[in-house]
């Protein structure tokens, strides 16, 4: 079956396109799934992390996933960030060092995630970031990574990818998982079976709220990130099921 990949940017439309793709892919089992990029005009590098969620689900269902008709410019981006190694294609050297390559981490691989940040953020950081800010930034990425690792129950791992835009002084970084979703987690915990995806995301972002069990306090991580991002005029996008 052919699955069309549209233009994907780091915004609501980009995530919607990936959600549509996931919907189309959801019924496939033991099939040939052809990801077709013919209609893809642009693909923001960090968005390969959520795209891989679709691929991981397809492979979980023993589908044979292949990739087709990738425009040359997009192919270069996806080779530079190592995403196409997923399809056994070669890596292009990242001469400008603007890429935090696509990686799949096991949920308990916090130390490897630290090595990843050490390797790929060093020397490529946004120039105006002080040592203290860099530390806070890394702390925030850790909070997000471990949040996904602990709460998602993803068996396929945690998928990450980032892209620096030196002229814009911007880093886009995406962490994705193939887990059960925030809504399901919060519904189970609160017992509110009809809580919407957006309400569940709001719940998770409120200080002190956590679905972690075991009589331990929690629920600070996402709130800290929200504050940090607001303070530094960044942007945090959280997408889960129907919620954005």
């Amino acid at each position: 079956m052919k699955l069309n990949v549209d233009t994907i940017r780091s915004d609501c439309n980009g995530f919607s396109s990936i959600a549509n793709l996931a919907e189309d892919a959801s019924k496939l089992w033991l099939a040939d799934a052809e990801l077709d990029f013919t209609e893809c005009v642009f693909f923001e590098a960090n968005m390969v992390a959520p795209l891989y969620v679709v691929i991981a689900k397809l492979r979980d269902e023993l589908n044979d996933v292949t990739i087709h008709n990738v425009p040359a410019a997009i192919e270069r981006i996806l080779k530079r960030n190592e995403f196409l190694t997923v399809f056994n294609m070669e890596v292009l050297r990242d001469i400008n060092q603007t890429t935090l390559p696509f990686k799949i981490f096991k949920p308990h691989a916090g130390e490897q995630f630290n090595d990843y940040l050490d390797t790929y953020m060093r020397g490529r950081g946004i120039p105006s970031m002080s040592v203290a800010l860099t530390k806070r930034f890394r702390q925030s990425l850790f909070e997000l990574f471990l949040n996904a690792a602990i709460h998602s129950e993803s068996t396929s791992g945690i998928f990450v990818c980032g892209q620096f835009f030196p002229h814009k002084h911007r880093l886009d970084f995406t962490i994705a998982d193939a887990g059960l979703g925030i809504r399901e987690n919060v519904r189970r915990y609160t017992g509110q079976e009809k809580m919407s995806s957006c309400a569940a995301i709001e719940w998770a972002l409120s200080e002190g709220n956590t679905t972690k069990t075991g009589n331990q306090p929690g629920g600070l991580g996402l709130k800290l990130i929200k504050d940090f991002i607001r303070m530094n005029q960044g942007k945090l996008q959280i997408v889960s099921r129907f919620g954005y």
Binding site: F142, Q192, S196, C198
Partner: protein, 118 residues
């Protein structure tokens, strides 16, 4: 009995990364045992390069479920934290105090939230 015992976190967990629940639990257990023996405890974060709220919730926040605030204030000291990390610890402690004062308060508040079907 009044000698302060120092727990070197990086040595105890075998890593400069304070990022996991399991490691936080290890530190919590050590403090718990020492508190029950009536000891004063110094937690040293020397050589720790990464510290996140998840770890502190378990290692230190959790103490507020077993010991009184006065006890903790009298018996527990920390060293080796930067200003930012001290701020983080303060938020963890405030959050823990609220949690143990009324663990279900937040959940109850959300029970009345407007829901939508999807």
């Amino acid at each position: 009995m009044d000698k302060t015992i120092t727990i070197k976190v990086a040595d105890l967990i075998g890593s400069p990364l304070c990022i996991s629940v399991e490691d936080g639990q290890k530190v919590f257990h050590k403090i718990e045992v020492l508190f029950k023996e009536g000891r004063n405890v110094m937690i040293s974060f020397d050589r720790v390069s990464m510290l996140i709220s998840l770890f502190l919730n378990v290692a230190i926040g959790q103490l507020y479920g077993s010991f009184s605030e006065d006890d903790i204030r009298a018996k527990l000291k920390v060293e080796g934290l930067s200003g930012d990390d001290m701020e983080l610890l303060k938020r963890v402690v405030d959050n823990a105090k609220r949690y143990y004062a009324n663990p279900k308060q937040y959940d109850a508040a959300w029970m009345d939230a407007e829901n939508e079907d999807e």
